[in-house]
Symmetry: C2
DNA sequence: GTCTATATAGCGATAGAC
DNA sequence: GTCTATCGCTATATAGAC
């Protein structure tokens, strides 16, 4: 077992992608990284494991990305950008249809649907889990990556909510938006069952009905009257 | 600086605890671990850093706990148990006062207050962040620790909510409970500002008003009518 | 119980041949 | 663009003196 294997099985855990089993080394590294990061965490996944699973050489990561950090950044950027563009597009669409101030439900849909839609995407399922854990956990470095992608978006959505719910102060909206991000992230990450689903109806994996329920839940929360006592 | 310091400052970031600045090595290791895990993450915090900050020897962790994993387990167990007992006590209290079916607000307070009350506790602030990140992210190992402590509690709370909101199915309650855990966890972890708090009113650290707002938000969400289309 | 010293292993990164 | 080989470092864990 210590004698070193010849070239090492180059195709292994693939055959998941549709019509391009091999793809380029760069893409395989991104795909494998995404999956392993979601399954085991970023810090605990080594470049050795990544390159082995991708059927690539250990030096490939440093050749294609320069460093592990750069690889991590690219794993996130590759997915976040289209999602956030989709979010903005849906928000603008909702605003256009409603003359500038859509209902809170439409705003929340614009935020949530592009993320949870990854449930159906076989390649996106891993990233959905990864996003979920990146939102709350992870190192400061990763959160910085995520934050830089999310800051504009968060401001944009909060401003839209301010117009939709003028009775709330910007401060209250910021917190309620935070509650919403947390709820969404927790659904995304999936994770273990909080209780053993007696009715055996829906599993732990979110689907469209969950998306609709989450939107209804958060919209009602946003509309809750403020019960503040000792604040100016 | 490379010459090794004699015994290393044994009192440093303490003076936070009331009357026992040094405490035992075991307790200092737990305190320091808790803080560092919350600040940097578990995997990225080495035993070397922990023992150095605690003014203890590198071998101390393995002597007192046996392994890093056992240390991590103890860091969580030490805090979770009292919190979950507090949660159950408050839930039972609410049920007793209301004749068995308290309002959803009271149930949510029983769940949330014991966790967010740690805001005031100087030793608990670190753990609050740690709990927040453990809920969503972290390794399977840590989540397993958390889950075993949380499973009974989750079932117990969901059953209480079923009685409070009989119009909801158990399945819907499970998901809405999940939304609530996510929102709470995201508040606990604190994290970076989602937008730059223009009004400069409340910071990013949660306080009592946030707890009240979170309860009101979630309660309204739970009371939202079901808008399910294609389900039996 | 606390220390030094070290065993053993894995890490990210790189040089340089092909 | 891919490979081998290796550097330099850090990690957890432990043996054994005090």
């Amino acid at each position: 077992m210590a004698t070193r294997e010849p070239i090492h099985s180059s195709r292994r855990t693939r055959a998941a992608s549709k019509a391009h089993p091999p793809a380029t080394t760069r893409e395989r590294l991104l795909d494998v990284s995404e999956r392993l990061f979601a399954e085991k965490g970023i810090e605990t996944t080594s470049l050795r494991t990544i390159t082995r699973e991708a059927g690539a050489n250990l030096a490939a990561v440093n050749y294609h990305f320069g460093s592990k950090t750069a690889l991590v950044t690219e794993v996130f950027a590759r997915r976040i950008q289209p999602i956030n563009e989709d979010r903005l597009r849906r928000l603008e669409e909702a605003e256009a249809e409603s003359g500038g101030t859509p209902r809170i439900e439409r705003i929340l849909e614009a935020l949530i649907v592009p993320a949870l839609v990854l449930v159906r995407d076989p390649g996106g399922r891993h990233f959905r889990r990864l996003m979920g854990r990146a939102h709350s956990g992870s190192s400061q470095e990763v959160q910085q990556i995520l934050l830089s992608q999310f800051e504009r978006l968060g401001r944009r959505f909060c401003e839209a909510i301010e117009r939709a719910l003028p009775q709330l102060t910007p401060d209250e909206i910021t917190w309620r938006f935070k509650f919403s991000i947390g709820a969404m992230a927790f659904v995304m990450v999936g994770g273990p069952p909080l209780r053993a689903a007696g009715a055996r109806s829906r599993g732990n994996e979110p689907d469209e009905t969950v998306t609709a329920d989450l939107v209804a839940f958060l919209a009602a929360g946003f509309r809750a009257p403020i019960t503040r006592e000792g604040r100016s």
